[in-house]
Amino acid sequence: MKRKLIAAIGVAGMLFSVAACGGDDGGDSGKKAGADGYAGQTLTVWVMDGSSPDQWQKDLAAEFEKKTKAKVTFEVQQWNGIQQKLTTALSEENPPDVFEIGNTQTPAYAKTGGLADLADLKEEIGADWTESLNESSVYEGKQYAAPWYFANRVVLYNKKVWADAGLKDTPKTRDEFYTALKTIGEKTDAEPIYLPGQNWYHFVGLVIGEGGELVKKDGDTYVSNLDDPKVAAAAETYKKFQALSKAPKDKDEATPQQGEVFAKGNVGAFIGMGWEAGIAIEANPAIEKQIGYFTIPGATADKPEGVFLGGSNLAVAAGSQKQELAKEFLKLALSDKYEGQLAKLNGVIPNKESLQSNLKGNAPAEAAAPAAAVGGTTPLIPEWAAVENDPNPIKTYLTAVLNGKSPAAAAKQVEGEFNKRLAQQQ
């Protein structure tokens, strides 16, 4: 026993030294560029899962290192739980220096003081940023982030499944879309569409298409507008299409990643970002040739379905000790070269109109373009970010409707939670 104990203590000592190593975060210091440029420094950049291709990151990091002598590390983050992670990270000594932040969440973070003022950057490189895309980055007249890219959803479909069902053309109206999916269900053993119950961005798009609003102003505060008949109509549309899917009614499009479900080849279509095709191709390279894209059809052929104009900004942490370097990074990342490359590779809308030519010949981007004109966003108010925290009341609303509640009853069910979040003390 004695020997064993001593051995155990020896092991403990060993482990402890390992622990000490593990604790070393290797953080680098130094704030300003010396004679060596920024040699020896490392910039940490948080990007969201799927938003920037490997090629883009690699090229950019290489050029950045050449230019500044500093390294850059990209850390890929998941959307789930990102706000909790970001908030704590911003309060720390070593926050991520640069990070991607969703446009709906930017105003809330701008208000917290966690984002550095980028007025000089805007002056230097932002003169031709598209006005409407820059809206979410500006809070109380100050520039807190830089618009990076924008995108709206399209229908990604499996050409082989559609051909098997005898379908030749892509649908132009909502009814045609529905009939086509029905045909797939009848003529093949594929799942016509993979539409989980909580793809709420698509639902927001449908609401925009109906001309509705999720919230309305009541005096000084925003309150739920889910009981609006226009919202109810959007929910009914969602329900009608969801009924064709075997996807769970209480999960969103990221759990599991719908691209991976689609990759298995037994799904007719799904509604997603153009770059989600990349997820599918990574999971199953053979699927690449089968993927097609079309604009989400609207109620009538002359107007596509409403879409949520999702987008991401790049921000610099106010607490970062590498402000200058971070701005150098932004200048390069948002330069025409890399902004254009991103648009081209991912089929997303770049932050200035002059770069739109990069989208030419890009199938998902061309499918997305017609709808972008009729797209919209959630209200760009600081209060909004709280709504997106789990459990997001809009997701709850959708699941309730899909499980058989009337839209009015579902709206009533989540109203309290929704209003509470909109009124939440900041």
């Binding site: 403990a12 593990g22 604790g23 704590t88």
Partner: protein
């Protein structure tokens, strides 16, 4: 006493049912992990994996920094258990064998400490660790995991110490041992099963801990442990049950082995531990 046929059959039959209920989920986890995907998403379940494949384990271990997670988890868990055993041994000896003012207070204090709902205190702990500049380090994790299991360890060990007959210690001291020597030569060997069974609880608690490491270790490849890997895996591969079950199996195996290995010696001492729990 002779029992009727029925009297002999029903306990065994019930035992088999209970056995099946206990084992099935564990079996299903391993079986799913070993089945090819086609057999996992079959309209009729494939009860016994016939074409065994290790591809899901490959998917699971391919995750970035997998071995860092493993190393971190092992380090933190072993250290936390070891430190808590050492600290608790001293304390439990005092509580079980010595008479002093405030003893009752200490016992109650540890019982209260045992109730601490750690999950709801994560932000307080986070702010303390942050302000001490100790984020992304295994040190605070080890310390707090040690604390999570310390009260239980003390209270359980106290029962084990009390169960060692006093006379043994006294006779050793008659033979010329000091109290410390008596403790080391007589009591410690007798405590072995107790130490093992309490360390099992420590292991499983520290191995499982999730909410705290989630906020304390954000840096990927830093001081992150296996529960983080398992949960991120689950969100990303929610639909891929083969990979998810392979990951769960990998996560569970060390604890399963430890328990099966230690249970015989541990159970024999459990009574002593629980009587005062």
């Amino acid at each position: 006493m002779k029992r009727s046929l029925f009297g002999r059959v029903w306990p065994n039959a019930t035992a088999l049912v209970v056995f099946a209920a206990c084992v099935f989920p564990v079996y299903w986890m391993f079986a799913t992990a070993l089945k090819p995907t086609g057999d996992i998403i079959a309209e009729d379940p494939v009860w016994f994996p016939t074409d065994i494949t290790f591809e899901h384990f490959g998917t699971a271990t391919d995750a970035e920094h997998f071995w860092t997670f493993v190393r971190n988890s092992l380090t933190v868990t072993c250290l936390a258990v070891l430190f808590s055993l050492i600290i608790a041994l001293a304390g439990s000896f005092a509580l079980a064998r010595m008479r002093f003012k405030g003893r009752r207070g200490f016992v109650i204090a540890f019982m209260l400490a045992q109730m601490a709902p750690w999950e709801v205190m994560v932000i307080a702990i986070y702010m303390i660790v942050r302000d001490a500049s100790m984020l992304n380090s295994l040190v605070p994790l080890t310390a707090f995991y040690m604390m999570m299991i310390l009260p239980f360890t003390i209270l359980t060990l106290r029962g084990f110490v009390a169960a060692v007959p006093k006379e043994l210690e006294e006779s050793a001291m008659v033979d010329g041992c000091t109290r410390a020597q008596a403790f080391r030569r007589v009591i410690l060997p007798l405590l072995a099963p107790g130490l093992m069974s309490t360390s099992m609880f420590g292991f499983i608690t520290a191995w499982n801990e999730f909410p705290l490491v989630l906020v304390l270790s954000k840096e990927s490849g830093g001081a992150q442990t296996l529960p983080l890997w398992l949960s991120s895996f689950q969100t990303q591969f929610g639909d891929d049950w083969g990979a998810t079950m392979a990951a769960s199996s990998l996560f569970a195996v060390p604890i399963l082995i430890l328990f099966v290995f230690l249970q015989r010696r541990a159970v024999s001492g459990l009574t002593a531990g629980a009587v005062k729990g």
